[in-house]
């Protein structure tokens, strides 16, 4: 169905104010300063918020809302409010698909993540702009979501084409239809949306052209140690890249028990930190920074691929944005792939 852009934003505000629909909280990308920066952060929608549904991905990844930086995990007795997460982009939707496989599977269910996930409707929006480090197309993605969303909004002109991917998404569209004037006759992606999507994809491809690489990432293992040392030279081992990564979920557990209760608190950890894999005897499988750096690249491009069926990188480019050493994941991967024996730079592309 089609909806006017202004009506959609007004609807989101009405959800909280009137309230209509089941959503007690709405998370949305908001502009943080008065400047002309296109940067947004995910935050609860408030009266004075300046929400931005279009544009490119927010500074922070969607995992922050579902997988807290620090949260009590046992006992877990919180009941998250029914929420709507609106305005996340395809790279974050794809990351949530990976986290779903990692955190809700037959062997293991993270109780907190599962609760947040079940209570939240993911309402993704097509990209209408790129951040300087965006490179989803290099990671096998596109600047709009095909799967993984509950509902999706594709901008064209002053309207959105809305589609649902799940029951939760259909429920959202029903609420919208009930309270907002929509053009429900349109049930196919309009040609104008197809055209804008193709144009956005071409833009990402074009800004990623300098970083094109082979997709045979297994070869990264064979990249020589000198190359890893060179690429990691400016790495200070701070862990910003892994904390901001939408698919990293390494955790540490702290025991904060008092009295007779056993309380466990889960926090983010980073494989880039020196103590990460060190055992009590002092032994560590990766004592050097270049070894930990290499581990992260292999985890993103090789290990997660074999474990979850898709790369652990969705091409959001946040790691490059966050790195205080100015290390750009895109160029590092290209250099490392080029240095791997028997690999040509653009092997397997086109």
């Amino acid at each position: 169905m089609l909806i006017h852009a202004d009506d959609l934003l007004a609807f989101l505000r009405r959800c909280l104010n009137e309230p209509i629909g089941p959503y007690r909280e709405i998370y949305i990308p908001v502009r943080q300063d008065d400047g002309d920066s296109s940067a947004t952060t995910l935050a609860p929608l408030r009266e004075d918020s300046r929400p931005v549904l279009d544009g490119h991905r927010a500074v922070d990844p969607a995992k922050l809302l579902f997988y807290g930086v620090r949260e009590r995990i046992a006992p877990f007795d919180r009941e998250p409010p029914p929420a709507l997460l609106a305005g996340i982009k395809a790279c974050d939707v794809k990351a949530l698909e990976i986290l779903d496989r990692a955190l809700i599977n037959k062997d293991f269910v993270d109780p907190a993540y599962q609760s947040w996930r079940e209570k939240t409707t993911v309402f993704s929006f097509d990209c209408t702009d790129t951040a300087p480090t965006c490179h989803c197309t290099l990671a096998g993605g596109k600047p709009y979501a095909d799967t993984g969303f509950d509902a999706n909004a594709a901008r064209f002109g002053d309207r959105y084409f809305l589609s649902a991917g799940t029951e939760k998404g259909r429920a959202l569209l029903d609420v919208i239809r009930k309270h907002v004037r929509v053009d429900a006759a349109h049930d196919r992606v309009p040609a104008a949306v197809e055209a804008r999507r193709a144009e956005m994809t071409a833009r990402v491809v074009s800004q990623s052209a300098a970083f094109e690489r082979s997709e045979d990432y297994d070869r990264l293992r064979a990249s020589p140690v000198e190359r890893w040392k060179e690429e990691s030279r400016d790495c200070v081992g701070c862990g910003a890249c892994t904390h901001i990564c939408p698919t990293c979920y390494c955790l540490i557990l702290n025991d904060e028990s008092r009295g007779a209760d056993f309380v466990k608190v889960r926090s983010y950890d980073s494989c880039q930190l020196h103590g990460y894999a060190r055992v009590a005897s002092g032994a560590s499988p990766r004592p050097r920074m270049d070894e930990r750096f290499r581990h992260r690249y292999l985890c993103k491009l090789v290990f997660m691929k074999s474990e979850f069926g898709s790369l652990g990188c969705t091409g959001c480019g946040r790691c490059a944005e966050a790195c205080p050493g100015g290390i750009d994941f895109r160029s590092a991967v290209r250099h490392l792939m080029e240095a791997a024996p028997g690999v040509r730079a653009a092997d397997g592309i086109g």
Binding site: P111, S257, K264, D269, V279, S281, S284, R286, P287
Partner: protein, 274 residues
């Protein structure tokens, strides 16, 4: 909804046994039974202090209590050594793979271990003794730095009396003033005294990384087959659930696919001995 995988089973500490100046065995009684298979590990937590992975050192046929043998090596283990009988602790698990006892049946077995690596091997050994009729023979080569550093001192004389068991101990060195009438040298020198046929036998190895590395090398040279050398790997199994990723070794999680691996399984992974 699935049970919370992070919830611990409360247990009470029944007694502590000082094995060496740095190694202590804790016997615990969980509030509800926690059956495990020898070789698997548990997460032991001290309320308000922390949690760490330990392989039980008791037979898996003992189900009402559970022993762990802990070497003082850091913050958590120092606190574990301070724990007193009657203290409440938490247990999660058991986790990971176990020794494949059915494959051991009717075979000559070699158990090779050193230092605190003897903890899981004591569990294996006691479990084997409980059904010793199933196995052809058990050779147990145990190493320690000095006589003082040998755990399970009181148990060795009784274990040694068993007709199907051959138990030999070695210490790296004997400081002045300490008595020792058994072998001297790193534990792998005992392999020279092996009287079973390597290519038909199975070996289980656990100990410090350097001992595992050279022990495995020597076993291969003697003719043990790589798929019949079982290694109990130690990595940082922080959560025990294959989630925290600290124990990732290439594409294996030590906590989920291990900690018991055959050498054939992991020989191509990087950093296995570190």
């Amino acid at each position: 909804m699935k049970p919370n995988p992070y919830e611990a089973i409360p247990a009470v500490l029944l007694e502590t046994i000082d094995e060496t100046p740095l190694i202590r065995t804790l016997r615990m009684k969980p509030d509800r039974p926690m059956p495990f298979r020898t070789g698997q590990f548990v997460e032991l937590s001290l309320p308000g202090i922390g949690e760490g992975p330990f392989t039980p050192s008791s037979s898996h046929f003992v189900t009402d209590t559970l022993d762990v043998t802990v070497m003082k090596a850091g913050f958590l283990t120092e606190h574990i050594h301070k724990a007193k009988p009657g203290d409440r602790v938490g247990l999660r698990g058991p986790y990971g793979s176990s020794y494949p006892l059915t494959e051991f049946e009717g075979q000559d077995l070699l158990i090779l271990g050193g230092g605190c690596g003897l903890a899981p091997l004591r569990s294996l050994f006691l479990t084997l003794l409980d059904e010793i009729e199933k196995y052809k023979s058990v050779t147990f080569f145990a190493g320690a730095k000095t006589p003082r550093d040998c755990p399970y001192k009181d148990a060795f004389p009784a274990w040694r009396k068993h007709p199907k068991v051959r138990l030999v101990r070695a210490v790296d060195s004997v400081p002045p003033g300490e008595a020792w009438d058994e072998e001297v040298g790193v534990v792998t020198v005992l392999l020279g005294k092996l009287d079973i046929v390597p290519k038909n036998s199975l070996a289980v190895v656990c100990g410090p990384p350097v001992m595992m590395k050279f022990g495995t090398r020597d076993l291969l040279r003697l003719g043990f087959r790589e798929e019949r050398i079982y290694l109990s790997m130690e990595k940082k199994m922080y959560c025990g659930l294959g989630q925290c990723r600290h124990c990732v070794m290439g594409e294996f999680y030590v906590c989920k696919h291990g900690p018991v691996f055959t050498y054939a399984q992991i020989k191509n992974e990087e950093g296995i001995w570190d």
